[in-house]
């Protein structure tokens, strides 16, 4: 009983598809130029033919964007790409755990004032971060000053040779101005509203009867979380992890203000610098942009369905 059979007027259907394909052309145009440009060899890069296909596939631009060009003194994006990974992966995991616990409390352990607290937390999602940026920078600088003795002494620590990596770990993740750890903690804190929102709405759908049954069996707060809620949380975690990873990977304002040294800058900042530099050719810029977009694009292609759900959750559709 499909209604489609009644209105398959041919010409209008064809027009419909033409419009859809034209729209697709608009959305794919930048991707086309990104891919075509990135895959051209240096000899093939020419402004007059920028829309034509590469004569032969070459990875020169990618390699130059990734490794830099010593002859011009440019640094590649490889280090920044890894910084973004070191930042986004732990920050995402921490955010998901915090959000899951908060959502559990706000959905299943409502206390007097819980809705007010929820609203209070939620507002943090919408603030322009400019309004907290200056004190945030000063706070991280203060932490950096307080923790400096620790960081400076790390190299002198007497640790077994197989634990040497701990020194690097401490230096990377010390929560301070200019470190990946400082940026990570900032992302976890300002991620609280959205992760709490998604998990709270997700857990609200789980029937209270399941928890009541668990309570009768003698389970407490942690028991119910561990044996009832958590096993049912996988889709919620997938949505939150995808959402957080892509927003942290793509974030720019915190990164540009809170990491002052190239060694700890994420890829968005490095790409912005690369694109603002006049000595870097445009094909290298395009390859850099493609590198910066690749991880989140891959996630979108593989897990698009969950990506959609995160987007819709972000619209407060509770």
């Amino acid at each position: 009983m499909s209604a489609g059979n009644h209105r398959s007027v041919r010409p209008s259907r064809i027009l419909l598809y033409i419009v859809l394909i034209l729209a697709a052309g608009f959305f794919l145009m930048p991707v086309y130029i990104l891919i075509v440009t990135s895959l051209k060899s240096y000899a093939d890069v020419n402004l007059a033919t920028m829309w034509s296909l590469p004569k032969q596939i070459s990875l020169d631009s990618f390699l130059s964007a990734w490794n830099g060009d010593p002859t011009k003194g440019t640094i590649g994006l490889s280090n920044n790409f890894m910084n973004s990974m070191k930042l986004a992966i732990p920050a995402t995991i921490l955010s998901a755990i915090v959000g899951s616990l908060n959502g559990y409390v706000l959905a299943k352990w409502k206390f007097p004032g819980a809705n007010f607290i929820f609203a209070l937390i939620l507002f943090g999602m919408f603030i322009p971060y400019q309004s907290i940026l200056i004190p945030l920078m000063l706070t991280l600088q203060a932490w950096g000053k307080a923790l400096r003795p620790l960081v400076e002494n790390v190299q002198a620590w007497q640790v077994p040779i197989f634990l040497e990596w701990i020194k690097t770990l401490v230096q990377t993740y010390v929560p301070a101005y200019g470190t990946i750890g400082g940026l990570m903690i900032v992302h976890v804190i300002y991620g609280i509203p959205i992760t709490t929102l998604i998990f709270r709405n997700y857990y609200a759908e789980i029937p209270d009867e399941l928890l009541e049954a668990g309570k009768i069996d003698g389970a407490g707060f942690w028991g119910l979380y561990r044996y009832v809620l958590f096993p049912l949380s996988v889709p919620g975690f997938v949505v939150v992890i995808i959402w957080e990873f892509q927003s942290i990977w793509n974030e720019f304002l915190f990164a540009v203000v809170l990491t002052n040294n190239a060694a700890s800058q994420p890829i968005t900042v490095a790409l912005n610098n690369l694109a603002g530099s006049y000595i870097v050719e445009w094909n290298v810029q395009m390859a850099g942009a493609l590198l910066a977009a690749l991880p989140t694009l891959l996630i979108f292609i593989v897990l698009g369905r969950y990506f959609m759900r995160g987007l819709l959750a972000g619209s407060l559709k509770g």
């Binding site: 959305f27 145009m29 908060n102 409390v105 607290i117 400019q130 309004s131 200056i134 945030l136 793509n250």
Partner: protein, 338 residues
Amino acid sequence: MHWRLNRDRLTAILVILPSVIAILVFVYGFIGWTGWASTLNWNDMMAIPKGGLFPATNSIQMDNYIRLFTVDQRFQIDLRNTIVFTVFFIGSCLFLGLGLAILLDQKIRNEGFFRSIYLFPMAVSFIVTGVVWRWLLNPGSAGAPVGVNQLLVNLGLPFLQSKWYTNPQALYILPDSPVGQFLHQVGLSSVTTPNFGISVAMLSVVLAAVWQMSGYTMALYLAGLRGVPDELREAARVDGANEIQIYQQVIMPLLRPITLSAVIILGHISLKIFDLISAMTGPGPAFATDVPAYYMFDTVFRGNHFARGAAIAIILLISVAVLVVPYLVNAIRTEVHR
């Protein structure tokens, strides 16, 4: 049911407490700090001891705000640009998003494929978008067009070429035009200045932003359209309504809450827009693409005008709050009642 504290409930409160404290300090405390800093005469990094949190400077009350709204030309251009950006960005996203959603709702073969193509720009950062569109909308030179201009020439549409984001002009009501003379008569001659015009360069930034966000608007509308029960359409059809009337009279009214959500979400993105401006144009020629969020960053982190930046940040916050708070309150209230 009466609520009484017990062990598990105490655990629950202790679990959420660190997050609440973090939000109180890092959101509300810091906003308070910024509000306080916006009243200071603070234009110097040295005013603050290293590792300290409070500058030792005197208060000048509301002077920073007064200055922004009276003598600061750059800020007034920024306000104009934000309004232009917001209006065109939201308008285009709603139009394109709704249009694409309705088209995709026509039982399209490969719908998922088209949907993914329209939506994927959401997955990349505004920085990537800015870098790519800066290149695409690079005007090139008259004899050697590049990017979109070159594409337009190749397609036989050279008259559509534009200077894009490098165009410093603003379109505004000329004082000696009939409308301008009328405005002069009614004492609104200040409206007939570029400060009340449309910055042409800003429209290029709008194009890039629409490329990134219209798919998202489409996804919102499509979810809404899928929520319209088939019986409703069928009933309207039985009543003799044609497809266009069904959309106009049955479906559109049901999509109103979605339009509201979309306006709130797109609106708060456009008021805060910073990344895209940074990567694509910066302040632009004669501040043609400057916005308050960029000015704040520029004046604080490059110019050390902390107090002025704090004042801009507070103005930004208030404008976002005016947009979001009523919506938030309403959303939570309806949810509690449900």
